[in-house]
């Protein structure tokens, strides 16, 4: 569908034009690798089954997808404030097509960023995935991107203004990151936090990435903690639920339409 392609193409054009965003998205995981990696590696120094930086790699890729996809999808808020969303709403396409286009653009942006970062990061930590591992990793990245992109559109459709971004960062992005298994195994969390972690789409994405990249350490307890099919099913479910909710939020007049066309008093 040409309209979806148009929305996706615009996401890429905008991303590449914002140099700061490109630098941040590529550089962010390496900042974490250096600083968080150095600190945690010290804490884990007594255990030599795995270098902590290697353990972090799947989580960092998950983080790249999360920031890439979620932030791209949240740009729907900016589109609304700048008026561009209205151009999309007056086009002869369904609201669900707009939601799908935004989510898909976010997915592909997150995926592209993760692939670029993987190409730089994996050699640095001396991780050489098998072909099967690389393919599974790609599946993990795409599915996570779709689930998080859909979530981002849902959030964007519910957020009133750009100022609420900070709230999203504090109460969505960071908890999601810490409860994803990116930095430590989810199994080490208490039962309550573990339950919360399993409501977190990123947790399944990171778990799948661990299956893909840390297979060699699975025996030592550092690989994926859940079965691969369960991870895939959970991510698909999040993606489908997110897209459905996003489409209905964009479709109802009280959602984006009202805020996009609010009557000035």
């Amino acid at each position: 569908m040409r309209a979806v392609y148009g929305i996706v193409a615009r996401e890429f054009l905008r991303f590449l034009r914002q140099r700061g965003r490109v630098v941040a998205s590529i550089g962010r995981p390496f900042v974490w690798l250096v600083f968080a990696g150095a600190g945690f590696a010290g804490v884990f120094a007594g255990r030599n089954e795995i270098d902590y930086r290697v353990y972090m790699a799947p989580g960092l890729l998950g983080m790249v997808v999360m920031f890439g996809s979620l932030l791209a999808a949240l740009s729907t808020v900016t589109d609304r404030e700048a008026g561009v969303l209205r151009m999309m709403l007056v086009a002869p396409i369904r609201r669900s097509t707009v939601a799908l286009g935004k989510a898909l653009g976010a997915t592909l942006l997150g995926t592209a960023q993760a692939v670029v970062v993987a190409g730089l990061l994996l050699p640095i930590v001396h991780l050489r995935p098998t072909l099967a591992g690389a393919l599974l990793g790609l599946v993990a990245v795409v599915l996570s991107g779709l689930a998080l992109g859909a979530l981002g559109v849902v959030l964007a459709a519910s957020i009133r203004s750009i100022e609420n971004f900070a709230g999203v960062m504090n109460f969505v992005v960071f908890p999601m990151l810490f409860l994803s298994g990116a930095l430590y195994p989810v199994g080490h969390l208490g039962p309550v936090l573990r339950a919360v972690a399993y409501a977190n789409p990123l947790a399944y994405g990171v778990d799948l990435l661990k299956h893909a990249l840390l297979g060699a350490w699975a025996g030592a307890g550092y690989g994926g903690e859940l079965p691969v099919p369960l991870d895939c099913a959970a991510l698909s479910l999040f993606a489908i639920a997110g897209l459905t909710i996003a489409a209905s939020l964009l479709g109802r007049e009280g959602g984006v339409t009202r805020t996009a066309f609010r009557q000035r008093p």
Binding site: R10, V90, F261
Partner: protein, 250 residues
């Protein structure tokens, strides 16, 4: 009998307790240049958004470009172009990229859109600026690009919502030349909203709105004659008891 371009029956919209548009009966003929005149808050933009399927009516019905605005939203949107009060262009993209984006949203084949975009850029004097980001353009040029975006898919009806708001007199004049040129070149139906009487003057017919109600409808000459006055400004005063400009911003 040819179907009217716009046919609204008892069309109305409430926002909570606010009755933005009461019950509007309106018929706009094919190829007509129609003006909606009224102060800010009279319900002009609400009317346009209802007719463009961006808002759902609280009551009444409307057919636009031969289709029902509630039942056939996609078909209505295919037949109309809409230039919003504030620009809807992506300021970070170039003029050409914005038009290409719109062409894809309207599912125009790449081959058709390329030649059409070139022609529109030439027609709107934007050829030299085609690769400049929109944020670098003057208000008048942005407006021209907005209108080019609005007619890219060759709609039957063009809605212009306060198209000259925020433009200097020169940009305003050149905009009117463009709209005149467009109408001369095609049988485009144009529905214009404005709170400037001089902009309603060249319209074939004018509907005067105030507080969500239609208070007068006719050709500018008829309206003036019926009210026994010399200007549309006085027509508004005669029908509402308050001047058009003073109600501004109320």
């Amino acid at each position: 009998m040819t179907a009217a371009a716009i046919d609204a029956r008892g069309l109305g919209k409430d926002f909570g307790a606010l009755r933005a548009l009461d019950r509007l009966d309106l018929e706009v003929g094919d190829g007509e240049f129609f003006g909606l005149l009224g102060p800010n808050g009279a319900g002009k933009t609400t009317t346009v958004h209802l007719l463009a399927t961006l808002l759902a009516p609280s009551r009444g019905t409307a057919r636009v470009a031969g289709h029902d605005v509630v039942e056939e939203g996609l078909a209505v949107r295919r037949g109309i172009g809409l230039v919003f009060q504030d620009t809807t262009l992506d300021r970070d993209l170039t003029v050409a990229e914005n038009l290409r984006f719109a062409a894809r949203l309207w599912s125009l084949p790449e081959r058709v859109s390329r030649s059409r975009i070139d022609a529109l850029l030439r027609q709107f004097d934007l050829l030299e600026r085609r690769d400049d980001p929109v944020r670098a353009l003057s208000g008048g040029m942005r407006r021209a690009a907005d209108i080019a975006r609005g007619i890219l898919h060759e709609p039957r009806i063009l809605f212009l919502d306060e198209p000259t708001a925020g433009l200097d007199p020169r940009a305003r004049r050149s905009l009117w030349d463009r709209i005149r040129g467009l109408r001369a070149a095609s049988r485009l139906t144009v529905l214009l909203t404005t709170h400037y009487v001089e902009e309603a003057e060249p319209c074939d017919r004018v509907a005067v709105l105030d507080h969500g109600r239609l208070v007068a409808l006719g050709t500018p000459a008829e309206l003036k004659q019926a009210a026994g006055v010399d200007s549309l400004e006085e027509v508004f005063l005669a029908h509402t008891g308050h001047p058009l400009t003073e109600a501004d911003g109320a």
